[in-house]
């Protein structure tokens, strides 16, 4: 029993790392543009396919192609922004959420249909020679290498993002825009450009998460919405304002789900996650690590 609990906790933590990366991207687009892109999970899915085909067709290792996948989905992000979200950010902040929900739900359907058409509905997993290898601790706890990458990359992504936002002039411009776009434009910041880049980085992070999903788990055209929902839970748990808080909350959610599936059965893991979510929401509505505002 103890072995099972520890093993489930470890597996939960590792998947929690990916929750963290997906949530980082979603928090960035939500915090800066004030749009809620529910098609964020579809970008995870597309990133997953990108890594899968780079591996199966060209033999490129999914961990090494992470920067390449980031760039591809980043580019897709600039296209989606220019075609769709550019028109949403013209409205006042209150209207943006509603309109972005409508648009991105439509995008969910379109991207899923395209994925089924191009890639079929089959589950795809990247099988490398290290896929079945694991670090075995104290004789019985297995930490699979391929899945550990998720947590490691999440932590790296959070630190890079915090560095960008806190230490660079462009990052300060992003935070300024997030806090008050009118004041940002009066400061000489090209708010539209900040929006596009922030959205593209958000998309790129979803792509990175996708690489890790297809390496450690599997991708199919319909996985998107599940990841979006997990990311939303993580963001509410963590609160906006701290990137490492988001990764920590992601890991925490994974851990709770892992433990719940041992004690209550895996059917209840989603329920327990939502209960934790409600409890945190009732006692700390600003989130566990949030600063209380709705900006990054």
């Amino acid at each position: 029993m103890r072995q099972l609990i520890i093993q489930s906790a470890v597996s939960g933590l590792l998947v929690g790392g990916i929750y963290g990366i997906v949530a980082l991207g979603l928090a960035l687009s939500f915090g800066v543009l004030k749009v809620l892109n529910v098609a964020h999970g579809e970008l995870v899915m597309l990133g997953g396919y990108a890594a899968f085909f780079l591996f199966t067709n060209m033999g490129l290792d999914p961990l090494l192609t992470i920067p390449l996948v980031f760039i591809c989905v980043f580019a897709l992000g600039t296209v989606l922004y220019s075609l769709l979200f550019k028109f949403v950010v013209r409205f006042d902040i209150e209207t943006r959420i509603k309109n972005s929900l409508l648009i991105s739900f439509g995008l969910v359907l379109i991207l899923q249909a395209i994925a089924v058409f191009l890639f079929s509905g089959d589950d795809r997993t990247i099988v490398t020679e290290y896929s079945s290898k694991a670090l075995v601790v104290t004789g019985w706890v297995r930490i699979p290498w391929a899945r550990s990458a998720g947590l490691v990359v999440a932590v790296i992504a959070a630190f890079l993002l915090e560095w960008l936002l806190n230490r660079t002039t462009f990052g300060h411009a992003v935070r300024g825009t997030s806090e008050d776009w009118a004041l940002a434009s009066l400061t000489g910041i090209n708010v539209r450009r900040v929006y596009m880049i922030a959205f593209a980085i958000s998309a790129g992070l979803a792509g990175v998460a996708g690489s890790l999903v297809s390496l450690g788990y599997s991708v199919s055209p319909s996985i998107g919405l599940g990841w979006t929902l997990k990311a939303l839970i993580v963001i509410v748990l963590a609160g906006l304002g701290s990137m490492r808080g988001i990764v920590l909350a992601g890991a925490l959610l994974g851990l709770v789900e892992g433990l719940a599936s041992v004690w209550l059965g895996s059917a209840y893991r989603g329920v327990v996650a939502l209960v934790v979510f409600l409890v945190v929401l009732s006692f700390r509505p600003q989130g566990l690590f949030g600063r209380g505002g709705n900006h990054v």
Binding site: T169, G176, L186, T187
Partner: protein, 235 residues
Amino acid sequence: MLKVENLGAGYGDLQVVWDVSFEVPAGALVAIIGSNGAGKTTTLRALMNLVPAMAGTIEFKGESIVGVPTHQIVERGLIMIPESRATFASLSVADNLALGAYTKRARRDRQTTLTDVYEIFPRLAERKSQLAGTLSGGERQMLAIGKALMARPEMLVLDEPSLGLAPIIVENTFDEIRAIRDRGVSVLMVEQHVEATLELVDYAYVLELGHVVIEGPSSDLMTDPRVREAYLSLQ
């Protein structure tokens, strides 16, 4: 420096500024005064293209800036300090000042301007690493002005700089505005504190219900019976 003719502006279908014309010569200190809802803030927002100008022309340094994106107007040297919330609460004092010099033209001189600003407001140097949101009202006003100076303005526009400040701090702020003008920056300010403003500025426009109703050198306005009755509450 700035020439506005027959400006109309508003929000959606609601027009609140009608046919407003005014001028700020180079090096001048000019005010637009009027009560709440007269359209003062909307006029300034239209100037910076935060709301679209529905009619009229706006010329800055002889070139039209109608339809020019806000950040490019800032790049041209026209800087506005909005009323209240003129600093980024979640950024430190130093980061706010650094962002103030975000434009290409200001970025080159960022370090020297920063030294100047810290000299003018030593308090800001003391609070360098403090978040702007935790400053007092007076300190935040200093930061707002310091941030605007970082942008190296050729012309500075202030929207109700006295709003929500204690009288002594309003006095300091007005002194600072005078000092900025003395450094060669043209200044346009919008105010409800009519008496103190008329003592400060060279020329003023009185705005009522979106129209300019009176204009003239401030010394003339101070003795104008209509201004005295409506704004100075003197017999």
